[in-house]
Amino acid sequence: MKQLSAIIILLTVISAASYGKDRAHITYGVEWGYIAFIQHGTHYNFYSPEGYRVDINNNRIKYRSNAEISFHTGYNFNTRWNLSIYIGYMGISDLHHAIPISIRATRSFCENRYGDKWFAFADLGSGFSITSRPQEILCCKLGAGYRISLSTKLKLDLKADARILYTHPELSYYNEPIPWDNVNRNNAYLSALSIGIGITF
């Protein structure tokens, strides 16, 4: 019993001593941005209200605006690499809103932790659409930006990225909504460019 107590006390002291050190590597913040959707690829297959099957396969350049906001928390493995989890709220073109959840790996191009630096990132994730029947979405981003250190704890990120998304929108045919049970396929592939600002602590 005495040995167990000693081990517990020792582990507690070690974790408390390392707590301050680990906190310096933990990052968190908020990011928001404007998204310009430029390419829409869709494949819809469904039964119309009249009963016949409709197959629409389309790929076109179409410009639509939307926006997103994300909250993130992560860990700095060293002065160059950071891995973070992002949870946000975004609009996907003129289709629907979604909640993306993704993992982002960021590489900084400066050894100085507190200096201004360029960075690049790759982001891959899933999420779900906000529709009457939520379905999974997939999102992949590649981007870069510039980080300005406003203080030792506060950083301002200016970033831009290119992204591709895959989602399942709700369908309508001549303004009549198609019930989910009549939908065989409702895939949409979108490409977009985004610019944004982030605040990181």
Binding site: D94, L150, S151, I197
Partner: protein, 181 residues
């Protein structure tokens, strides 16, 4: 005794530096930046008018109905505000905070809730809190309710209504990033 007086002098020096930063940065008077909000994205220019006030001009892309899925394209609006600095304080971290409030006016070509594009005219109030860093970059959060009219010109009539988006979006926060030069 020596260590406490040294500590006090360091604190006073940091506070004086922070206040000096605030006045130096704000006293330079001019700033450009961008405002981001669920209501839209704006480019902004501000300039010090007097010691305790500054005016702000913003050109906005009104995106509230676009983000709601009710319109395909953003509207445009121009906003002018005369802001009075309520409190200007320093901090030991090297930056300073500024609280401000002021009246303004807005005019534009926007949509409204359940309404097509029309002419927007109105008055607004801006209330915000700004943090100015030692790098001359400021981050602010503000709200700006709008009381205005939305006029839609149709073929056979002119329809003027209360601008409902201005009241619906009155408490939607706006985040602004500005650079003082």
């Amino acid at each position: 005794m020596i260590s406490s007086s040294t500590c006090i002098s360091k604190i006073l020096l940091a506070a004086a530096s922070a206040v000096l930063i605030c006045h130096t940065v704000a006293g330079q008077g001019k700033a450009v930046g961008s405002i981001w909000s669920y209501k839209g994205i704006s480019m902004t220019y501000s300039q010090t008018a007097h010691e305790d006030s500054f005016y702000e001009l913003a050109l906005s892309a009104d995106m509230m109905d676009l983000l709601n899925g009710n319109s395909r394209y953003p509207g445009v609006a121009a906003r002018f505000a005369w802001n009075i600095i309520l409190k200007d304080s320093g901090s030991a971290g090297g930056g300073c905070f500024k609280a401000y409030v002021g009246p303004g006016a807005i005019m534009g070509w926007t949509t409204d809730k359940d309404c097509s594009y029309g002419i927007l005219t109105g008055i607004s109030t801006v209330a915000g809190l700004e943090y100015i860093s030692s790098r001359k970059i400021a981050i602010s959060v503000s709200v700006s309710p709008i009381l205005g009219c939305h006029t839609v010109i149709r073929k056979d009539m002119i329809q003027m209504k209360l601008y409902r988006n201005g009241l619906i979006g009155s408490l939607i926060p706006e985040a602004c990033i500005k650079y003082y030069f």
